[in-house]
Structures are given as C-alpha cells and as structure tokens.
Symmetry: C2
C-alpha cells in the first residue's frame, strides 16, 4: 500500500462500499455492500447504547434563534451550517439550519421534559444524518458534507460528579464497540482550543491510519451546566430547590467505518472484522461434471447448518474460474472461505482459508463445524485487533527533542512528548511544527519539550485528518 489515498479511493469503488460520483461534492451513496457493513455496525452499537439510553429521533432542522442561543457553540459552527431559506417559492420567516449536531435541537425539549429530580438522570441517543459545509478537500467517509451516520448521545444529571462519571461511561461504551471492530485508538483530552464548542472538556478517540495521519473517530464531552443555563433547563431537587442540571454528550460517525476499512485492509482489498462482514463465510464448490450434484448438496448442507447457527453464509457457484472467485472474495474481505470438491467429499473434510493470514486448514466434517467456525471467527477478530494495536503502539514514539518531531511524524508516527499544558506554549508547538496537538494522554512531570517549564502532561502530536 504505497499510496494510501489512492488505495482508499479504489477500495471504496471496487468493493462497492460507496459511490462518490453523486453530483454534489462531499455527498456519496451507500452501495448495498457498504450499507450492510454500516447496518451491522449500527446494530452492535445500538445493543450497547440500549442498555442505558433511550433511542429517540429529533427533527433535521433547527430554528436560527435556537442555534444562536449558545454563543460559543454557534461560533464553532457558523462557517459550517447549511441554511434552508425557502419553502417552495416562498422565503421562510425564519432561516432553518440543517443540524450540524443536535444540542440546540434537543435541549429546548429537555427544558420541557425535565421538571424534577425524579426525571434525572435522562439519557437519550439518536442515529441521524447531519451536515457540515466543509470547505477543505472532501474525502468519502472521512471528510464529508453529509454525515449520513451520526450516533449522538445526550445525558442530563443532578450533579457535576455524575456528569464526570457519565463521561467515563461514554468512553467505556466506545472502547467496547472499537474492540468489537478490532480498531485501536488513543484516548486523550483535547487541548482547550480544540474542545467541543461550549464544553467544559472533551475526550477524543483517534485512530492511526496507514498514511500516518490520525483520524478522530469519537468524542465525549462534559458540558457542565453551560447549556442548561442557556436553554433554561431546571429541575426541582428533593428539598424543593430549583437548580440547573449538568450535561454530557458524545458521538461517533461514518468515520468508524472509514477507520476499520483503512486499518485492516491490504493490497488485496478489504479485510473485514467478522462482526460487520456482509458475508462471513463463502463456500466455493469445486465442480466436476459427474460429481456436481453431490458437491452442491453438501455445500448447501453446510450453509444451512451455519446459517441456522446465525452466521452469514454465501455459496459462490457462479460459472467462472475459481481463481476469479478467490480474487473477488478477497477483495470483499470475506473472513473465511470454504473450498469443497469431490475429493473433499470422499474424505469427508473441507479446506478453510482465512482472509487475514491466508492460512489454510483442513477440517474433518466429523467435528462440530459450528463451534469450529465460531472459534475461528473469534480468532480472526483477535488477530486483527492484536496486529492493529501492535502497529499503532509501534508508531507512538516518545520524543524529547522538538527539532526531530516533524520528521518522525511525517514518517507515519504519533509523537508523545512532555508538555506544560499552557495554551500559548501549545499553540507555539503547533505553529513551529505545522502539526496538531491531539491532547493529553496522562499526567507526568519533568520538562516541557517546548518552553522548558515544568511538564504536566504526556501529550500526543500528529498530523490529523
């Protein structure tokens, strides 16, 4: 994969994930195969969210006066909002924003819904399309103008401590989904100039793409009582006092899918974690004239057994060369391939080939195929996870000399440096290196790499998307 950018563009097209030829820049079509990956991802995310949140659905449009209420927030979005100004041939009385995110759609309703401490905590989420008028170069799934899949959570709590705890809960949920998808991540607290507009603080998950850039794949924000004050959200506590509650919000998007494609894929095509693979097992019957009925019948038997156990299985009996089938199944990232020919039938066995390592194993059909495949798919997920985490960990380089940082980062690494935590010093680093401070990974001591004063944080620096 010499040129990641070209590889990513090609794989989306060849594996039929996204069609980016839609006649509006930055907006693309989800093709059937891509849509299925997205669907299985959202199903798993939904299972995690549903344990502790209610799913809701708010309108797409936000009145200008609601969007404008929270000054810091609106300033963060004013360059990026799409405005609806006309209904039919008539100009609207009030401009309507297409949601760039839904705080200002949801919180006016929270102010109606929340009356008493018994209404708290309140935890809701929704999966929606949002829009941002990106002026930078767009790229499918990574930098888009329509985010077709934004799963955003919004919670309300009696105390600031509960909000802090909820931020941790949000982080835990995202750790779980990224582990299921075998996506490695760093978690940092963003520097003040890069936190969510209106938040007290922001934690972010970033993944390292093979071109050496980091991609933000999820964020978790503690909003304090800023929005509660702006949107007049109040509750009566058990003593009859009226107070503003504390809020959090957190979200992730299409970029998760970009990340899993980019991280696991190789020169042959997609490598999909079994959880989101549209087809998990493809069976290729090797057919000769006299034995074709028996082979196909056995293939169908295996397919039925595996499907009844909940796997997604396909029999590839197209009348084309096996080599072409292998090639296509590799391109599509199908985790396991089963080869089945007349000789296998005679020996009551099959060959099973992994997409991730290309390893071939023989399996006797006397054994429990469901258990075997189940374990094998777990092994694949674990291998993908291990490999991806190793890659990322090897590419986080501790540095104590700022002069080397550009070279290190431009060679595909994330730099870990000691930093004083001072805004001016941080912006100085960004300016000097032309790189981005991702944020603080952990506390430390010693000397700031830039100003030399006493260091507070181990801080990650990278080239970001």
């Amino acid at each position: 994969m010499e040129n990641f950018s070209q590889w990513f563009h090609d794989i989306l097209e060849k594996a039929e994930i996204i069609d980016s030829r839609y006649p509006i820049k930055g907006m693309s079509v989800w093709l059937p195969k891509g849509f299925k990956i997205r669907k299985y991802f959202l199903e798993e995310l939904g299972k995690l969210m549903d344990q502790d949140h209610d799913e809701v659905l708010f309108p797409l449009l936000i009145p200008e006066n609601e969007l404008a209420k929270e000054a810091i927030h609106v300033k963060g979005f004013e360059e990026e909002v799409y405005w609806v100004t006309h209904g039919g041939v008539k100009e609207l009385n009030e401009k309507l924003a297409i949601r760039p995110t839904s705080e200002t759609a949801i919180y006016p309703m929270f102010s109606l819904w929340i009356r008493s401490h018994i209404d708290l905590p309140k935890k809701v989420y929704q999966s929606v399309n949002t829009m941002r008028y990106e002026t930078k170069h767009t790229r499918p799934l990574i930098r888009v103008r329509e985010i077709t899949t934004f799963t955003e959570s919004h919670t309300v709590h009696e105390t600031y401590e509960e909000a802090i705890k909820q931020v941790e809960n949000g982080i835990d949920i995202y750790k779980k989904i990224f582990n299921l998808l075998a996506i490695p991540y760093t978690i940092v607290s963003r520097p003040s100039w890069d936190k969510f507009p209106g938040a007290d603080y922001t934690f972010a998950f970033d993944s390292l793409i093979k071109d050496g850039k980091t991609l933000q794949i999820a964020t978790v924000h503690n909003l304090g009582d800023t929005f509660a004050k702006t949107f007049d959200i109040k509750y009566e506590d058990s003593n009859g006092n009226h107070k503003h509650p504390y809020q959090t919000c957190y979200g992730l998007s299409d970029r998760v899918i970009a990340s899993l494609i980019a991280i696991h894929g190789d020169d042959k095509g997609l490598v999909l974690p079994p959880l989101v693979a549209p087809v998990q097992i493809t069976i290729i019957p090797i057919i000769f004239k006299d034995k074709s009925d028996e082979v196909l019948s056995k293939a169908n038997e295996i397919k039925n057994t595996l499907e009844n156990a909940g796997f997604r299985v396909n029999i590839d009996d197209r009348g084309i060369r096996p080599g072409k089938k292998y090639h296509e199944n590799e391109l599509n990232g199908i985790p396991l391939r089963i080869d089945l020919g007349p000789r296998d039938l005679k020996n009551n066995k099959i060959d099973i080939i992994r997409r991730d390592t290309a390893e071939k194993k023989e399996f006797s059909l006397d054994g429990d195929i469901v258990e075997y495949i189940n374990n094998y798919l777990s092994e694949i997920t674990n291998n993908l996870k291990q490999k991806a985490w190793n890659y990322m960990n090897e590419h986080i380089i501790e540095l104590n000399d700022l002069s080397k940082i550009e070279e290190i980062v431009l060679n595909g690494n994330i730099a870990s440096v000691k930093w004083c935590g001072n805004d001016d010093c941080g912006k100085g680093i960004e300016e000097k290196t032309n790189l981005d401070i991702l944020g603080n990974l952990s506390e430390t001591n010693g000397e700031c790499i830039h100003c030399g004063k006493s260091a507070k944080y181990n801080c990650l620096i990278s080239k970001t998307y």
Copy 2:
C-alpha cells in the same frame, strides 16, 4: 371516541409517542415509546424488502438542475420543496433541494450503474427522512413537514411487462406488512389528476380513520420509460441494441403508524398489534408482605421463560396501586397483562388479561406458557384485523344517487359508485360534492352516477386527509 382529532392529539402525548411541541411547525420528536413502535415496524418491513431488494442510502440534498430535469415531476413538487441556499455565510453556487422523494437523486446514479441487460432487473430501497413544505394545517404523523420515515423502493426492468409485474409485487409486499399490523385498506388506481407526477399510473392504499376520512398509507407507481428518457438511463440488450429500461417506484411513511394507532385505539388508549408493541406482556405481581419474595421470584421466572422465547416482557413492580398500573398499561396498549398474586402461586396458575377485549383467562402453569402466549398474541392480531376489516367493509356504501353522497360520506363512510372514467366528469363529481375521488377499485358496467354515460369502473369517493 366522540372527537377523533382531540383523541389522536391526546393519545400521542399521553402514551408518549410523539412530542409535537418542537419549535418548528409540522416537525415533531419521536419519544422512546413511539420510537420503538417505529423501529419494530421498520424491522418487519425490512425483512420483507430484503427478500428482493438491496438496501442503499442516497444523499439528503438534490441539485436544482437534477430536480428540474423531469418537467412534470418538478411541477408536482415545486410548491413543496425546501431549498438550501447558503453554506455557512456563503451563498451556494447552485440551490440544493431537500429531497421531497428521491427519484431525482437516485436516477442520475442509475444512469451510471446500468449498462447492460445483465444489470437488470435492479431493485433498491432506502428508509430516509424527506421534507415537504406543507401549507395546509399540519398534524403529527399524518400531515407533517418532515417525514422522518419514508421507505422508498426504486426498480428498473428490461420490459414494460416486467414493470407491470413489479407493481403487483410492490402491492403484495404492502398487503403483507398491513396484514401483519392488522391495518385494513382499499387498493385503487388513482385518477389521472392524482397520480404520482411523472408516473404512467399509480395504485394507492387508503385506510379509513374513525373520523370518516381516508388516509393514504402507501403508493405504487409504474413510471414507464419517462424517467429513463429524462435521466438518460440505457442498457444494451442481448442483441447489442441500446434501449431505455422501464421503472417503478413505491413507498410508505410514518402514516402507517398514524393509521395503526388511529384504527385500533380506543377510549382507554393505545391498542397495539403485538408485532410492534414495545412491551408485549406486562406482569403485575400482587404483593403482600409475607409472600413478596416468592411472587417476585415466580414473576421473574415467567419473564425469563417468555424473553428466552423472544417476547418483550416487563414486570411492573412499582410501588403504586394496581389500579393505576392497569390504567397505564391499558393506555400504553400492552397486548397482554399477567396478574400474579400469592393465591395464584398456591394454585400454580396466572390470570391473563387481553387489552383488545379485556377478557380474562386463567392459565395453569403446568401448561406450555410459551405456546399459549404465542397463540394468544396471534389471536389478538387476528381479532384486531377482523374487527378493523369489518368496520371498514361496513363503511363502504354502494350508491347510485349522487345527491346522497355528501351526507353518506360526511357520516363516516366511503362511497362506492359507478363512474365512466372520464376526467372532466370525475372533476365534476369532486366539484359538485366537495369530496375526493380515491380511484378505481374494479371494472364494471352500467351507468355513470354523474354523467349517465356507460360506466367503466367501481370508484371510491371519500373525504381525504
């Protein structure tokens, strides 16, 4: 239910389906309970669609020049389209329409995707939000400005005959989903002035609401080759000739949920078909001091048994009066209630109470509870279906005197009359009666109720939403 309009407004609020206080007219919030009904509906619809269609997802916005390409089509929507004119503070070079429906978003891509007869038939669908700038009085779920749930299918075929057949397939799918939801319907071909803009012909499903008005809940269109010509969709047939293919499209929306709420509900609240009920069975433990552990333990045992069989079960052990629980569970339309007290425990039985008929039955816990509940839920669906179909059939009144039609229809009926099928005559009927021609139910002969010439169709007339 003396005043349907008030009842419908109240039930959406009290049963927490929709919050219509969102600060834009015609746009509402799906609350957790309503969202679940919507979710289970979409899941069942998806199962039917997935058998023969690929799910895809197209962008929200459509460039003005694409929307304008098909002249008849755009004329049908020009009064209703929301226009995006600004990105951030900049005016866009080209206005973008928020999709009112997606023909003009999808068909430019079809023209890229379809090359040869081996690409056909192509059948895709998507579930998306769409917008229409309604100028009439809005009403949640029934007449809205954001349709949050529009499931639209688009198919492409080699021949016109195949397109005709696909229209029938679309109708069959909708019959199946409405049967699952116990929603009765009429299917008519819409008169020429009321067909989908650009279609050759339109079939529509209407349901009869208790206020006597009909509500269009699904439409199926044969588009002929009109859009194929406009959007330059061509395929090469097996002889190497380049031809325009034939298309169909069909869709349904939030109105299906409005319809099931309106048709099955009663003065006590929702009556939900088990398929979409967020909770299908609620267990109410009748707790006395000394026996509470045993009762709760039995309730949990029953809950686990039923949940493992795939039912959605709740134990209502809140510390409030049973009467209040009964009232709330009725309001929420939970199909079955199980009462379980110490005396039941002693006799190893439970009382099961149906929401739809309020009938109470005793069930011995020696029996197979899963089979029993399964059958009972089917019986409820069948009863709802029977009752609703009977109601509708009783309210379709055959008439051969136009002077009585207004009275009949305003008393809550659909009129069935003989009609010549002539446009001018039909519009004359609508003008004279101030009612709407739904369309043709079947062919007939005899005399047209209006012009007296020879009749061609049995035609339905109603007051429509």
